[in-house]
Amino acid sequence: MAEKHKPAPMVDEVSEFEVLEIAVRELAIEKGLFTAEDHQHWTEYMHTLGPLPAARLVAKAWLDPEYKKLAVKDGVKASLEVGIDWVNSMPTKFGTPSDYCNLRVLEDTPKLKHVVVCTLCSCYPRPILGQSPEWYRTPNYRRRLVRWPRQVLAEFGLQLPEDVEVRVEDSNQKSRFIVLPVRPEGTEGWTEDQLAEIVTRDCLIGVAVPKPGKTANDPRPVRPAVNPYHHH
């Protein structure tokens, strides 16, 4: 006998923000700032993106030393094996300029921890990691990480010993980055699927490290820019 399924809950009211989003988009189309078709294609593509391919890339690299070498040497090529074609999977089918197609995979060691930021805006390797979290976009994170990386990581709950070097990589017009963290103890004999589950988005940005049993990102407080950066 078929089981009875309760319908998934849904929001049964229209918010003013939803109306605003549609109105802004439709007016922009009406004014010829972009076309409805282009917007639709791009939206469909964006809906396919998320952090799983990057997690799988890390899991594969942990299991296969040759693949790890490839990932560190050529992140774009290594991405192909996890289903991400930085050139041809774009709706355009011919990729974008080189700035966008250069993914670098930053390999952590027991004495070196990488963490990624974009101090200019909020550049993020969306094709392989999906949408950036809110805190990554904030001026607070972007400005303070470069100045006090160890302290900011500690605020994220990542306390690093003094003998571990912290290296901040600033995304720019030439490169996007993901972190290849150290494989944690207690994962011996695990499959690629098991390993990929513990490589969370935050591990791939570098503000967390993988741990057996931890498969979700922690909620992060979003802090205002207490000392806003002004021109000088």
């Binding site: 009211e13 549609i22 700035d99 101090t119 470069v146």
Partner: protein, 150 residues
Amino acid sequence: MAEINPKFHELDEEMASRDLDHSPVELLEKIKQEGRVWDDLSEEYGVDNPDPPWRITLEATCDMLADGYWETFNICKPKEERNPEEESKKLDAVERRWEEDQLVNQHYAEVPFPERQLLALAHTLIRRGLINEDELARHMEEVDQRLNSA
């Protein structure tokens, strides 16, 4: 030690020199006050999705406005490579992000994300004259009637 990207300092000076209008936009102030944010709606209706369904379409709108269909990620293009005529119809992503940070700080700090991103985008578009506040208000009424006509 890493430093803040020098381009940020250039951007900061460039944007500061434009003497942007910092005044609030009445329509957006009203939405800020009266609009129901996704955090509240999802809690009330027991929905798990942490983001409103329109978050991706908003992101896509920002990308589309930035530099056309095939250059959406080329957000740091040098000025000398830009076409001024085309530029006037576009909203550079780096500039938009700069303005978003400022507008959130000035007007929308208490609004959660991504609602604050949406308000900041609408604010920027109105301030730059790419859309008009009155026509946006009228179009919102039309959209509202359409969505609630079922």
